[in-house]
């Protein structure tokens, strides 16, 4: 099986706990694992595991500041994720708009035909 880079990305953000961690990082800009652990209902170990997966997916990066390791969101990859999702949603919006146009036209036509027939 070939590993699609998008698969890794989806897998990283599919888990609700992991999304929570990512959400917090998006809000805060930068934080340590301990800081994040203080704001979620799961253990610091769990937070660390989530951070590893998010980092592997290229969604976050880390830097050392003294003895602390700080994590921050990675703009380009998040941008890519957002675009991918927004793109799919937009496609469906366009399809629904087309269905609306088609159905309303068909209905108009049927009404007109009935009226002409009746008069």
């Amino acid at each position: 099986m070939t590993a699609d880079p998008d698969d890794e990305l989806w897998a990283a953000i599919a888990d609700p706990s992991r999304r929570r961690v990512l959400d917090l990082l998006v809000q805060r800009g930068e934080a340590s694992a301990s800081t994040l652990a203080g704001q979620v209902p799961f253990s610091r170990q769990a937070v660390s595991k989530h951070l590893v997966v998010l980092q592997q997916a290229g969604l976050i990066s880390r830097r050392k500041l003294g003895r602390e390791v700080l994590y921050h969101v990675d703009g380009p990859r998040l941008d890519q994720a957002t675009r991918a999702l927004a793109g799919v949603a937009r496609e469906w919006d366009q399809r629904l708009a087309t269905i609306k146009r088609l159905a309303e036209a068909a209905h108009e036509q049927a009404k007109t035909a009935t009226t002409e027939h009746g008069s």
């Binding site: 698969d7 989806w10 897998a11 953000i13 599919a14 888990d15 609700p16 999304r19 929570r20 990512l22 959400d23 998006v26 809000q27 969101v73 990675d74 703009g75 380009p76 998040l78 941008d79 994720a81 957002t82 675009r83 999702l85 927004a86 799919v88 949603a89 469906w92 919006d93 399809r95 629904l96 708009a97 087309t98 269905i99 609306k100 088609l102 159905a103 309303e104 068909a106 209905h107 049927a110």
Partner: protein
């Protein structure tokens, strides 16, 4: 094994009765106008068909057919494989007649939760809806604030 998952949910209100919308959503010669370029499809549960997009395309399998309210099919699964939960995208249309209008909802989801216990799946599903929207909003805000990273 991957935990690839996503879910898109969209809705629109149409000024036409539910029976008319049903035909637009399910009849192959209508589907070619809003979805695929080429559609070979029998609207029967379990029926295997084909949808082509330009020079690409692939098999589809019809799941639910409950006129005029529910229609669903699976697509985007690997060629040669039987589409099922985990290897394909499920597209579900729900049509609700509201007087002279119809509320049309589409949900596209791809679930690969093979290793998940049932309780976890349930929780996941519950949390997903709200969490996803909020998450996307934040992502969109972030991207808007930091264009091009």
């Amino acid at each position: 094994m991957s935990t690839t998952e996503y879910r898109i949910e969209r809705e629109i209100v149409i000024d036409a009765p539910v029976e008319v919308v049903w035909r637009t959503v399910t009849e192959p010669d209508q589907i070619t106008q809003w979805f695929a370029d080429k559609v070979e499809l029998e609207v029967t549960p379990g029926a295997h068909g084909y949808m082509g997009f330009g020079d690409q395309g692939g098999p589809v399998v019809v799941e639910a057919v409950e006129p005029p309210n529910r229609f669903s099919f699976r697509w985007n699964h690997p060629a040669g494989d039987e589409p099922e939960a985990g290897n394909s995208l499920l597209v579900e249309f729900t049509l609700a007649g509201e007087g002279a209008q119809t509320r049309l909802r589409v949900v596209e989801s791809g679930l690969d939760l093979l290793a998940w216990p049932a309780a976890e799946k349930q929780r996941y599903g519950d949390e997903h809806n709200e969490g996803w929207g909020k998450f996307l909003d934040r992502l969109a805000t972030l991207v808007a604030e930091h264009p091009e990273g």
